[in-house]
Symmetry: C2
Subunit: 503 residues, 2 copies
Amino acid sequence: MNWRRKVMTSQQLTNWLKQRTYLTPDRIALISDKREYTFKELWTMTIEMASKIHSHVKESQSEFIGLMIKNTVESVTVIHAVQQLGLTAVLLNHRLSPSELAFQIEDMNLSAVILDDEFYEKLQNQPIQKVTLSGLHKATPSTFEIKGHFQLDQVCSVMYTSGTTGAPKGVLQTYGNHWWSAIGSSLNLGTSENDTWLCSVPLFHISGYSILMRSVIYGMSVRLFEHFDVERINRELKSGSITIMSAVSNMLQRMLKDLGDESYHGNFRCMLLGGGPAPLPLLEICRDKEIPVFQTYGMTETSSQIVTLSPEYSLSKLGSAGKPLFPSELKIKKETRPAAAYEEGEILVKGPNVTIGYYKREGANQKSFEDGWLSTGDIGYVDDEGFLFVLDRRSDLIISGGENVYPAEIESMLASHKEIEDVGVAGISSDEWGQVPCAFIVKGTMSLLNGKDVLSFCKKNLASYKQPKKIVFVDEIPRNASNKILRRVLRERWEQGVYRDEH
Amino acid sequence: MNWRRKVMTSQQLTNWLKQRTYLTPDRIALISDKREYTFKELWTMTIEMASKIHSHVKESQSEFIGLMIKNTVESVTVIHAVQQLGLTAVLLNHRLSPSELAFQIEDMNLSAVILDDEFYEKLQNQPIQKVTLSGLHKATPSTFEIKGHFQLDQVCSVMYTSGTTGAPKGVLQTYGNHWWSAIGSSLNLGTSENDTWLCSVPLFHISGYSILMRSVIYGMSVRLFEHFDVERINRELKSGSITIMSAVSNMLQRMLKDLGDESYHGNFRCMLLGGGPAPLPLLEICRDKEIPVFQTYGMTETSSQIVTLSPEYSLSKLGSAGKPLFPSELKIKKETRPAAAYEEGEILVKGPNVTIGYYKREGANQKSFEDGWLSTGDIGYVDDEGFLFVLDRRSDLIISGGENVYPAEIESMLASHKEIEDVGVAGISSDEWGQVPCAFIVKGTMSLLNGKDVLSFCKKNLASYKQPKKIVFVDEIPRNASNKILRRVLRERWEQGVYRDEH
């Protein structure tokens, strides 16, 4: 059609933090334990940080730079500084072992890592440039050119998948991925200039990183916590200073316990609950206490949420993860065909927030992506109104005597027991059934609970094939950075004889 | 870089109304004088309308279809139906004369127009297929394929520029333009599931059309008014049923007059005020009455607002149009160089909401677009904090004895006079000065105001060279569909002797 001019589709956007600072310099960007920072102050600190990082890494040819940071104001400036320098941040999880870190550093071929001084030891033997925060303080700033725009197809960050299954893979997240993730979330949750989002989830994880991106895109305050401090967080939620918070079930459970008979301030409008299927009893308590829980489903590959339960359905669809964000799509695949309503199958997602792929993993990319759809490896179904119910990780699915057994369902039931503090369920080998469920339980400090008690509790509440055939008491349930239960680790520890058989 | 997978940038999004209906079927989409419609109902009506339109136009080869509609529920379904059919709507202004309409129909080479029955006469002599709404009621539906996605670079709508200057040109607005316009607005004004946007501006104009797009993208209710009914609109704003409204100065002035000593409900959070620079006295009254006015600057070419004054600056920057929306940019050009702060020049804008161009106007496209920047033809300046102050249309600028005189400034001053109902100022030829300002005034019904009174009022308040040299009393000020003053028409009427010289 000859009348069409060359279409300039939007492949770039204004430099986010720069634009935000121009638009609303005096709004509060960040609140730490000690003080508040406006966007203008954040911008100044970021540029200073960037010019110091630049003086350290300007000789480097690599577009990647490792980050090993805590949830501090300084880390926030490091994250923004790396964006301002046009580098791609590789977010390293400081909870990993030296050998796990070595794998990622090698895999990304990193030449430098910016790190909090206290993590120095973990990287001691790595043949890379270690740029500590204290070293940066002393650095002489080196000027660099501030970009006017961000390219949406440029890779902004790399995060290794949490590794509930298989070998870790670097997930490439573009500026466009982060942008659309923030926009999709805003169209669902709404935005207000009065919002303050509490971030106690790790900044090196997509749950925390995405809060920073929303902050600059919306012009929203972030209340940053270095640790998940239940009492202080509850105090803020009761005071009315917080409107939104990201959490996972385990965190929420601890918060409710501390909250007791009290309730949160009316300003608190959204508890964004991710990190795997939430136990029904937990959701019911929140309903009774009028805590506005938005169940959500997402992963590193979707740059945070992709499916969230809209406010108006939080009660009628209790237990559902909801529907896709406006720009995204969802379908369930049963073998090679689309599943019918209520039919279980693998969850597939699509949308502009979905990663462009795993770094240097051609095999995984070919396996996981088809026609823009990402195979999540999770199992679920969609009801007749299109609401998603996530059942479990496919790799955690227990097939016992031909029956599908979902660990999350058993965990949810066991979590409702008053004397059980935390619980994980995994499949272990069985000559008779192929696999049987085994429950790993952390009991309350004063509890006298024994294996038989638990088994009889299960008998009352679960079909025979779902009842754990073994009960193992443990000190803690292994979880990844986003607090998802590492059922694979439970299984491995069991097989290696780390745990004692209680029943 | 060989590790990069082919980047799938987002060139398509889910079919908006379909996705919105899937996500929140029971939310209220539309409220008329008579009843409310959920998104599910709107979807059903839209598909029915589309299948009836399809039966009329399926033989047509044209991708364009004319629309000549009023602000009714049925018109809303027509607008959505045309999107569902994958056609491009050419929005015809029913206030135009038959010959003006003939020009646009010819220019777009339209073969069919969907029209409200009462406009039939205006198109009587046009050699095109006239599909009346009553005809559609009787049509037999014809099935068509519902698209899963909208292509962002596809042209969604065409609107002719209001024509304050020169010959009318068809502005091409893509789905992407409308999308980014809605997103930019949401990042500035915020969104809430409790929002209801009052639309009494025309649906065939970008101010009204864009409200419908926001509605489906945000999941927001629209309260539709067929006419600008001051009393009933004020009643709704006082009752708390409305949170946002689009208006132009003239509308707001009438609303304030009717409002008297009363005030609006606390739910009312945004009066989006566009259509040209607002008179300062009007803004001051709003400030005193605590009416949250968001001054905004935009045009058909920017698919609605592109610069808006953020809430926190509504008082300190009274009179400014604000700063660009987050995805957009702004600059002032002085001859061939960028202007300094406070230096007047032409306003240039850029962003994903800016039109891809004028239909079949290679000359205008080459003149108006450079490197993605649109030359708006408006004059303004940016202060040292980056706030835009719009002075006037460049074509309306009066150059009097070498001095720049801005009609809007004089109008603003005159509008503060109690006995002046409406006013427009235009330059007329002068042997002595080249041009001199002439004030065209609509006086209050009971007013005994004469030209001398007005002149002495001007003498008190304006520099000598800005004082109108002629005062002309008229019955009404000519305005375009978006209520912008047509100063060119005032000038022409004066030159043609239509007006009587009062002074």
